[in-house]
Structure formats: C-alpha cells, structure tokens
Symmetry: D2
Subunit: 169 residues, 4 copies
C-alpha cells in the first residue's frame, strides 16, 4: 500500500461535496465510481436504487460511492441545472462529478476510461488500483461480491493463492 493516489477524473464541477479533490475525499478506501446519465433508464431504474443498497451494507469508511455524470447524448437536456434538480429530487447525497465535455459527444473521463456507455461501474481498491470495470447491469449479489473482493482480497494475493478460496470471482 505504497501509494493510494487515485487516477485523475476530468471534472467540470463537483456537486454534494465542498472539495474538488477526488483523492482528498475518496482515497484510502474502496471507491465505487458510478458513471451515469440522469435520463438513462438503466441508471434510473437499476443502478441508482442499487447504490442505496450499497450504503446500507457497507460503511462510508469501507466503500466510498462517487457519481460521475457522463453525458454523451441529449447534452442540452441534461444540463447541470437539470442534474442539480434530479439529485435533489432523488435524494442523492454522495459526491457527483460532472464529466468534462470533450471534443465530440463523449466527455473526457468517459473517453479516458474507454467506457462503453451508461451505467458503467469502476471499482478501485484502497491502494487505488482499478479492480473492476463493468458496463451495464449487475445483480446486487454480483456487485457486492466485487466490492468484497476489492475490500478484502489483496491484489498481490491473487498471484500467490491458487484454489477455490483464492481472490477471483
């Protein structure tokens, strides 16, 4: 655990947090980064309720949930004004970064991580290693298995351990 410096996010504005330093509020813990669009049905109906379940099963000291609003379509419809009302109405309290617009339709963080769409989940462990990158829906059981692995299964251990209780799903 030499470094715990999370890789950069390209963020235009942070909501729900006084800090604009991703590392300041998220490093040293497992980070569940949720890339979404406020008008994406899979995000609204599946991922957002799921993130509430995460907060019921894991403490904030264990898993830091961070939203990333990565708009790649209907840009005018999903302005920061609309997003702020959405966050308020949906009762979302974790930090949300607005992905910085890129040259084309794809915003910069989304492009940097080569995300295929929304919802996308990125899970970093407490040593700031990217452990999972998933596009689309996961069951609660599957997502929690990934979080558990990021929390309690040393990446280095994956090399040493072989067998059924080793560090892989």
């Amino acid at each position: 655990m030499i470094s715990t410096h999370l890789p950069p996010l390209y963020i235009g504005e942070w909501l729900n947090t006084p800090s604009s330093d991703f590392n300041a509020f998220a490093s040293g813990r497992v980070v569940l980064l949720h890339a979404f669009q406020m008008l994406c049905p899979g995000c609204v109906y599946h991922s957002l309720p799921q993130l509430k379940s995460v907060a019921e099963a894991y403490s904030p000291e264990q898993v830091s949930v961070v939203g990333l609003h990565s708009v790649f379509e209907h840009h005018a419809a999903m302005s920061s004004t609309s997003l702020k009302a959405f966050i308020s109405e949906m009762g979302i309290t974790y930090p949300i970064g607005i992905d910085l617009p890129g040259h084309g339709a794809i915003p910069q963080t989304m492009a940097h991580y080569q995300m295929r769409g929304t919802p996308s989940l990125l899970i970093f462990d407490a040593s700031a290693n990217l452990r999972f990158h998933h596009f689309g829906r996961l069951s609660d059981m599957q997502l929690s298995a990934m979080l558990g692995q990021a929390l309690w299964c040393d990446e280095s251990a994956e090399l040493a351990i072989s067998g059924s209780t080793g560090c892989s799903l």
Copy 2:
C-alpha cells in the same frame, strides 16, 4: 488453516446428495448453511430466491450452499414426503439435510446452534470457522458482503488490522 473440519450437523436424512458426510462435500470452501422450513413465508418468499442469486454470483468452489430443514412447528405438515415434493417443484438442487428431531419441538441442529427461528443463516469460512449467524432477512447486498468477508478476509487478520479497510462490516 490447520483444520478444515466443519462442526457436526445432526441430520436424519440427506437429500440432493449421494454422500451423508457434510464435511466430504462442503469443507474447504465457504459454506452457506440455510436453516428453513418449507412452510415458512420468509423462507419461501425471501431466502430461497436469494440463494439462487448466490449461485449466480459465486461459483460452487467458492460458496457451498447447503439447506437445513429445521422444523419446529407443524411437524406433521412438513414431513420428508412433503419436503421432497417441495424441493422438486421449487427446483432446488443443492444438498438439504433434514434436521434430526429432538426431545421437544426443536430439532437437534437447531438446538445445538441456538437458532432463534427460520430463516437462519450460518456462514463458515474455508477453515471451518463459524463467521456469521443471522436470524431473519438480509438484503442481497448484505449477504454478499458477509460471503465476501468469509471468502477473502482472514479471521486472523481481524486482530492485526485496524482501520477502514479492515475485516469487519
């Protein structure tokens, strides 16, 4: 990981398994022991569907799901004849042990583990340590967090580690 010998279950008959040796088919892996009654609504509507989600998120080499039919009421209504039809209709394929009747209404394994009712969940790690004992419902996210901890978080580590990424929920 000196011993992986699971503690005894008091079983009258095993279903869905040729072996009657709990240790033979379950040891060396995380064991999710599900104590239920076939006519318990919480078991039927919550736990049994949840165990199907476990099998979708974890491989059988990681988590061994085992049922324990611990009847403490309506004994005549939940005979082994009725249980076998229930298992067949519900499509349950994991091993199920029928808890051995005790002197009173409470069967012997249920009494041994001082279970408070059904559904009850007991989670053993691969070293055969009892890690969790829960009566009632858990969310999928919570159950999976317990399984992850049993799988990937050394019990001995719990003593050494303090802090947010340590081995506790």
Copy 3:
C-alpha cells in the same frame, strides 16, 4: 338476473368457512375461484400475493375470493394436514375447498371445468355466469380488468353493444 345459482363444486372439505354451501357464502357477488396447489411455484409466488391485492381493491361484497385446492400431482405431499398449516402460515383467510379426488390423478372439480393446471382462475358474475377461465399468470392490471367487466358489464350488453366501450377486453 333470474337465477344466481352457482354451478357445483366437488369439495371434500371446506376450510376457513363454517358453511359447506358454496352458494350460501358466494352467490350474488362476483366470485373469483382460484384453483391452486400449495407446492405449485406459480401459485405461491404469483397468484397468492395477487389475491391479497384483490382484497385491497375490491370489497368482499363486490368480489368473493374462494380457493380451490386441486391437487393433481404429489398427492401425499399436499395432504389436508399440510394444507392447513400452509393456510395458517400464509395468513389466508378466505374460504378454501379441497377438490374431491377423482378416479385418476385429477380431482373432480378440476376435471369438471377441464382446467389445464394450476394456477387457474374462474370468474363468475353476480348472476352466476362463468365469465372468464384462465390458466397461468395474469398481471394485476389484467385480472382487475376481468373483475371489472364481470362486476359492471352486463353479459347481455355484450350482444347489443359494439364499439370501443363495449363489454369486451
């Protein structure tokens, strides 16, 4: 509305009702007859919760829910002893008739109405006409549409009315 005499059911034993006269407690209202087996997954997971929703949307004076335990498989597993415990545990309070065994596996009421399996729903209107006979699952919206039609749409009107607001789904 000359006669309101419901057709016969072949019942060995009535539960949850002091009367054994189907017509005495059900006639003059819409009757929702639910043929089920206590170990049929579609009945347990879909129909039984749905019947609770019926009772929340319609008064007992409007819709009389009646269960029919029509066992055509696993007969020994679904005895009246098991059924009584099932009813108690599931909190079912409406009358349930145990379909009378026939010569083969199929009980007599099930055979009389040529039911294809369980769950089957039969809806009679207040004039004792059989208005709907459905095998398998229905959405709450669909079932309620059938109940509304049986309640408020005269069967004779079906002949006279043509057009979008006529008495047919």
Copy 4:
C-alpha cells in the same frame, strides 16, 4: 351519451401527437390523464411503469392514456428540451401535453383541476365525465378497478342501483 366533449386542458405544446385537439384524439373513450413531472420520483418509479401495464391490459380503443407535464417546481430543470429527451429515452409513445405556465409556480391545467401534486390521475369516461381524481400512488389492481368502473359502469346507473354489485368501489 349526448355529449362527449372533454373539458379543456391548458396546453402550451403537444408531444407525440400531430393534433393539438385533445378532444379529437381522446373523446369517446375512457381517458386516463396522468399529470407528472419528469423529475418526480413517484412518477418515474411508480406511475410511468404502471401506465405500460395499462396498455397491456386495455386496448387504445378502450382507454386513451394521455400525459400532462405539470411542472410546479424546478421549472428550469424540466424544460421542453429536457422533457423531449426524457420521453425518447423512456420510450413513451402516448400523447403528452405540456401544461401552460400560470402566474405563479402552478401551471394552468394543474390549477384548474386543483391538483395537489404529482403524480395525479384523472379518469374521464366515454361521455366525458370526470369519474376519478387521485393524487399519489395506486396499486395496479386499484387503478384497473377505476378504469373498469369508468368503462363499464354507467354513471346514471349509480343512482338506480343499490347493493353489492352497484357501481361504486
């Protein structure tokens, strides 16, 4: 059924319909008017999925579903630009009228019908009588019971009929 002229809606713009004449496309059928806001959680999570179930149980000749976007808060966040993207992403195909802004926060149709908030449901029968006005959530079974009553139960009959099969819930 002398007149089937629906009462006026105060609409700034109609979406999903070439006509701007509410009566032209909705009269002569039961009309289910759904007042919503695109960022209202109860609308998004409960009512909108429910309206899809309506379309599965009733034909468009029986029940005409019409949306009414009645924004009374976060006006800038729920512009017509945002609404159009919302409708497209959610796959909504029935006509939606944008409620005309009033003098204060409350738009004109919402004020005219004295709606208490969103979601609100208004059900008109084929004779253009307002039969139900409900604020908040309804179960599918309850909503369908209201639709059935509007479809098949003559309002005039309510006066003539007394008893359990009469025209009231």
